[in-house]
Symmetry: C2
Subunit: 322 residues, 2 copies
């Protein structure tokens, strides 16, 4: 049988699959299905994310950056549930066969699979406009996953890392950076989200709710509050964690706006009873307390004790493009 | 929060999800991940399939037919492993929001989910050129799945249903039917593949290998033979199951060619020791014995006892379009 382009592509991913496989993979790429061994007393956590050229990334984006953005965003959903990554499937639609692109993409994919201990177990490759769907699968102890509903009045609201950087990177990419000093940092935050897996796993049994920040803090916090029987929140804007780099490049007001609404930071936002906060020790990422869950519905913003408002909320891909 | 287009789309699929959910779905659509209860002594079988407008179906194909083709093809991979369907995820990339399209698609999807007892547990909806990825998940008793490797010399080669109909439907769609009498039947075979789930499950413990016919009999049988340590096969062309409808519309020679190479029939091809064949009783689909596994590598074709050849093999999406 002649070696079609299709077989050539499969070869790249067969390599990734072999390199990332572990004992749970009874049968990997190459049959009608992958076969996977399950764990007792664990639930399976599953999430699928799609990225489309022109909607989620600019045409011409280097393949390794597409890989890091896709994987980072997808695995972040496992982090938000407190799950431990297990398996990855990849549906890849390509306009044609570009060996350099495939090499760069599959090499970065293999690195990320190793880094996050996730095995590529299957996929599909088709011809068409560049579109990538990654489905991640992880395990979480039965009944212990961090869900959105569970916040109660008085819980502290916390976020990891710094907020708004990803939006700063995107804006610089679209409009250019006036000052290039921190361009690399901000672009890296946009292209290479770091799923907060260890934090998520540490929050099990402590946090009352958790979400990863994909739409922007205000939107995502609203998802928590809606799922948690309609509680509200008070946020202290001066407590929002903002990086020096974002601050120096775009100024305080813009940085704060993006910290609230920027989207795609893929940090975790969680609520936790105050007495459990001290139990979070030795984390690999900073956690900031930014406010409190209230009985009164709605999100109220305070800056140095004064009530304030901002325009706009987090964004929605479809609304943004329509 | 204003109801964006995005939320509107989610609503359609939330309905499907609710309608198809079962006890194994601890948490369905609406959080960062779905949470799924697992079964003891079972392995998880997983497969993902993508369909792209213009590559896998013609622009303007009705949404309900896209749904039946996508689901039929995807679930067929579970049938080929002998697995029982459990969960479905759907990554849907749409050029815009077309309510009629979404209604027709989601309604057919819900019907198919009920028919095959598969629960829609999650997905992602993005804007871009029409592309659909469906991942199916099923359970199979540990160590019992029907894999491709396992055929041995002397095993009978069998196929279910009739072959070539799907290709006949496609050709009629592309070039028109000279005779319309059987157009509906052939188009239905193209658009609405029937995953052979009961047959697959019945083959557990009996068949030595199994695959679903997506690329065409010669290609797919070659996959079995390659996975089974390089055995070969002898096929009796007069034993190929060909429908009256295909025969009447396209004639014997063309029908036989498509039965061998047409692709996308989504019937099962399996090998089975001769003494186990009588154990297959009360099946909801006809099974035909079409040949035998041989020690000699390669696939040899015989018509009424005479060795013969055909031109071309099964097709490959990438090769066909390049």
């Amino acid at each position: 049988m002649a070696l079609g382009e299709f077989d050539l592509i499969k070869r790249f991913f067969a390599q990734v699959s072999e390199a990332s496989s572990d004992a749970s993979v009874a049968l990997g790429v190459g049959d009608d299905c992958a076969l996977l061994d399950l764990q007792q007393n664990q639930q399976l956590a599953v999430s699928i994310d799609t990225m489309v050229e022109g909607t989620h990334f600019l045409p011409g984006t280097p393949a390794d950056l597409i890989a890091s953005r896709l994987l980072g965003a997808a695995i972040s959903d496992l982090a938000a549930m407190g799950a431990t990554p297990a398996w990855l499937t990849l549906a890849l639609t390509l306009p044609g066969v570009d060996i350099e692109w495939l090499e760069a993409f599959s090499q970065r994919l293999a690195e990320l699979c190793r880094e996050h201990s996730i095995a590529l177990i299957g996929g599909d490759t088709t011809r068409g406009p560049l579109t990538l769907s990654a489905q991640v699968h992880g395990f979480v102890p039965t009944g212990q996953a961090l869900c959105r509903g569970g916040a109660t009045s008085g819980d502290l609201i916390c976020v990891s890392g710094s907020l708004g950087d990803s939006r700063g990177g995107l804006e610089g990419l679209l409009s250019g950076f006036e000052c290039e000093t921190h361009a690399e940092y901000l672009l890296d935050r946009f292209y290479s989200p770091q799923p907060r897996l260890i934090l998520g796993q540490s929050l099990i049994g402590k946090a009352s709710s958790c979400i990863d920040l994909s739409d922007g803090l205000l939107s995502d916090l609203a998802h928590i509050l809606m799922a948690s029987q309609g509680y509200g929140a008070r946020l202290q804007l001066e407590a929002l964690p903002i990086s020096e780099q974002l601050l120096a490049t775009f100024g305080e007001e813009q940085a704060r706006q993006w910290a609230l609404t920027g989207g795609e930071d893929f940090e975790l936002c969680f609520t936790i009873p105050a007495d459990k906060l001290p139990l979070l020790a030795d984390l690999p990422v900073a956690v900031s307390v930014i406010g409190k869950v209230t009985d009164e519905p709605g999100i109220q913003l305070f800056l140095r004790g004064e009530s304030c408002q901002i325009s706009g909320t987090g964004y929605d891909h479809f609304m943004q493009n329509s």
